[in-house]
C-alpha cells in the first residue's frame, strides 16, 4: 500500500520508494562529497568544549604539534566535517549520507550503530571528502519505534591528497511515525 509522503521534516532530501527499489541500490556508491570547511581549530575547540574534554591534543598547540604534528580533530568529529553548512551563497550542499537516498516508505530515521577505523590522525588544515556505499538494506522489521528497514552504509574518508584517513560503517533505521 503506497501513501504519498507528507511528513518529511528531516531536513534531508529523503527518497521514497519500495523495498524492492531499495534493494536495487545495494552496491551503489555516492559521488565524492567534499567538506564545506577545512578541519579547523575553532570548531575543534567548540566540540571539545561541548563535551568538556580537556585533551590538550585539541587545546594546546605546542603539545599537539609535538605529539601529532598539529592540533588534531577529535575522532568523534569525523562525520561532522562532512555535514553541509546550514546555508551558503551557492546553495546548501548534499548531506554525506547515502542512506537518505535509498528509496523506502519511512518518513523518518534514526541512527543505530557505527563502527569506525581511524587510519591516522586528522590534523587542522586538512580538507576531507567522503564516498559512501550502500552495503545492505534489511526487509521490514518491527521495532519499539515502529516498522522500518535497517540500512548499512560504508563510508571512506580521505584528505585533500587522496590519503584514506578513516572508514566508517553505519547502520540507520528508516521508519514511519
Amino acid at each position: 500500500m503506497q501513501e504519498a509522503p507528507t511528513k518529511n521534516q528531516t531536513g534531508f532530501d529523503l527518497k521514497f520508494g519500495t523495498y524492492e527499489q531499495a534493494k536495487a541500490m545495494i552496491g551503489a556508491k555516492s559521488e565524492v562529497i567534499f567538506s564545506d570547511v577545512e578541519v579547523n581549530v575553532p570548531m575543534i575547540k567548540y566540540y571539545a568544549a561541548h563535551l568538556e574534554d580537556a585533551n590538550p591534543s585539541y587545546w594546546d598547540e605546542d603539545f599537539a604539534t609535538q605529539a601529532w604534528g598539529g592540533v588534531v580533530s577529535p575522532p568523534g568529529m569525523l562525520m561532522s566535517w562532512l555535514m553541509p553548512l546550514p546555508w551558503k551563497p551557492s546553495g546548501r550542499g548534499a548531506a554525506p549520507l547515502l542512506a537518505t537516498q535509498v528509496p523506502l516508505p519511512g518518513d523518518t530515521l534514526i541512527n543505530v550503530s557505527t563502527e569506525t577505523e581511524f587510519i591516522r590522525p586528522i590534523r587542522a588544515g586538512e580538507r576531507l571528502n567522503v564516498t559512501d556505499e550502500v552495503a545492505d538494506v534489511t526487509p521490514e522489521k518491527q521495532t519499539r519505534l515502529g516498522k522500518g528497514h535497517f540500512i548499512t552504509t560504508v563510508a571512506t574518508f580521505r584528505n585533500e591528497k587522496g590519503a584514506v584517513v578513516a572508514k566508517n560503517k553505519n547502520v540507520m533505521f528508516r521508519f514511519s511515525f
Partner: protein, 147 residues
C-alpha cells in the same frame, strides 16, 4: 622541551580487567542544542522536542557524534593525550535525553601487540539514570616505555 607535561598511561601500565574512572556530564537542553551546532547536525530530533516525541522519543536526544566523542573521552581521560583512537564501535540501544545525567564507564578487556603497535581493547558503556544507552568498544594505541 618547552611544552607542558600531561599525565600519560603507557602500555606497560595497563592491566587487563582494570576499571576506568567514570565520566559524567549533565545533558541540559543547552547541551543538546550545543551538540547540534558543534556537529552541524540539524536533524530535528536533536533540536525540536515535538518532532522527537512524534518519533517515539521522550524529548530531544544527543546525536551519534556527541556520543562518539564522549566514548572517546572516557578512554583518553584515563589513558592520556598521547592516545590514538584506532577503532570504535558503538550501538545506540536507547537515547540520552535533555534532562538526563550521562555517565560513561569502561573496563580494559585486553592488551596486545599487533603489527608493532601497542593496542588496548576497552569496553565502554554510556548510560543515563535508567541504565545503559550505548554499549561501545574502543581499541586504542598507547605509547610504550620501550619506544
Amino acid at each position: 622541551m618547552c611544552t607542558k607535561r600531561y599525565a600519560q598511561r603507557y602500555f606497560e601500565d595497563v592491566q587487563e580487567n582494570e576499571a576506568l574512572p567514570e565520566v559524567r556530564l549533565e545533558v541540559t537542553y543547552k547541551r543538546v542544542i550545543q551538540d547540534a551546532a558543534a556537529t552541524l547536525d540539524y536533524f530535528p530530533g536533536h533540536h525540536d522536542p515535538e518532532y522527537a516525541q512524534a518519533q517515539g522519543q521522550k524529548t530531544v536526544y544527543l546525536n551519534t557524534m556527541c556520543l562518539q566523542g564522549f566514548i572517546d573521552r572516557v578512554a583518553t581521560d584515563w589513558a592520556g593525550p598521547h592516545t590514538f583512537i584506532f577503532k570504535r564501535k558503538m550501538t545506540m540501544a536507547r537515547s540520552v535525553y535533555a534532562g538526563d545525567t550521562m555517565y560513561g564507564k569502561g573496563m580494559v578487556l585486553k592488551k596486545y601487540d599487533h603489527d608493532g603497535r601497542h593496542l588496548v581493547d576497552i569496553g565502554i558503556e554510556v548510560g543515563n539514570e535508567e541504565g545503559v544507552c550505548c554499549p561501545a568498544s574502543v581499541t586504542v594505541e598507547l605509547p610504550s616505555k620501550n619506544g
